[in-house]
Symmetry: C2
Subunit: 154 residues, 2 copies
């Protein structure tokens, strides 16, 4: 996990914040620290749980795939893999975008106009930037947002 990956790039060798960046090999690798330091806190990553109510376009896997990929890129993340599953022609969609900086997932209940999204991002990404993309894509009447700082050290 690379908390220091620059926006939109993948790197296994971040140049900032390493205790022994001048060393090479396993000794340096073992001493890397990818946790984030922000707002006086040190933690692994930010995890947003986003419930969309009164939402539209929840039964279209291609639309959902495009929306989540746009959300990831807008937040400054790098997409490694995505997978979406459509349960039936009129049914819900489950899917995930695996990122260099963690993941975005979605599960939709079109019959309830409800979708549960979670956005987990470490590094320099800002998962809050993904929310306006979700609003445009799914036109929810109401958005319920919960923010968790995962792996908080202090």
């Amino acid at each position: 996990m690379n908390a220091l990956t620059p926006l939109g790039m993948v790197s296994d060798f971040p140049s900032e914040n390493q205790t022994n960046e001048h060393l090479l090999g396993e000794a340096a690798e073992d001493q890397k620290d990818y946790f984030v330091e922000r707002d006086g806190m040190k933690f692994a990553g930010m995890h947003l749980l986003v419930d969309l109510w009164g939402a539209s376009n929840l039964g279209d896997p291609a639309h959902i795939d495009a929306a989540l990929c746009e959300a990831a890129i807008t937040a400054g993340a790098t997409i490694l893999h995505s997978h979406f599953h459509h349960f039936s022609p009129n049914g819900g969609v489950s899917g995930v975008v695996v990122l260099a900086e963690s993941h975005i997932s979605i599960h939709t209940w079109p019959e309830r106009n409800f979708a549960a999204v979670d956005i987990f991002m470490c590094g320099a990404c800002d998962p809050h930037l993904a929310i306006p993309v979700l609003r445009r894509a799914f036109l929810p009447e109401r958005v319920q947002l919960d923010e968790q700082r995962r792996g908080r050290v202090y």
Copy 2:
């Protein structure tokens, strides 16, 4: 999304709790309700955020894949797809198992002996049953657990 899928099976046509189960075709499909009713609450699914501290085996994608698949099956879920990414030979692993009943994800920071897991399950699954499997696989000294009921109606 099929909240009524029996343990270990996928079905787009659950037989319980449908308002018009005797009807066929799109009219009935549109009226299905896959939300769960439990403990006097109605909601979309249960979402556990599980932080593992002082954990082991966090840099081995094959071990992590096997552990998460075992955790999913133990919780009564059906695996649709899994994908794991290893960031470097000594680095962390990011991965997800997409389920008929939502997903399990993991992101590991071996240099901190830390892993962030989330387990989202709807239907008859019990995500709490996945926790002992994670304990056996990653031997954490400490487990921090947060439970969210996503899409709660009442």
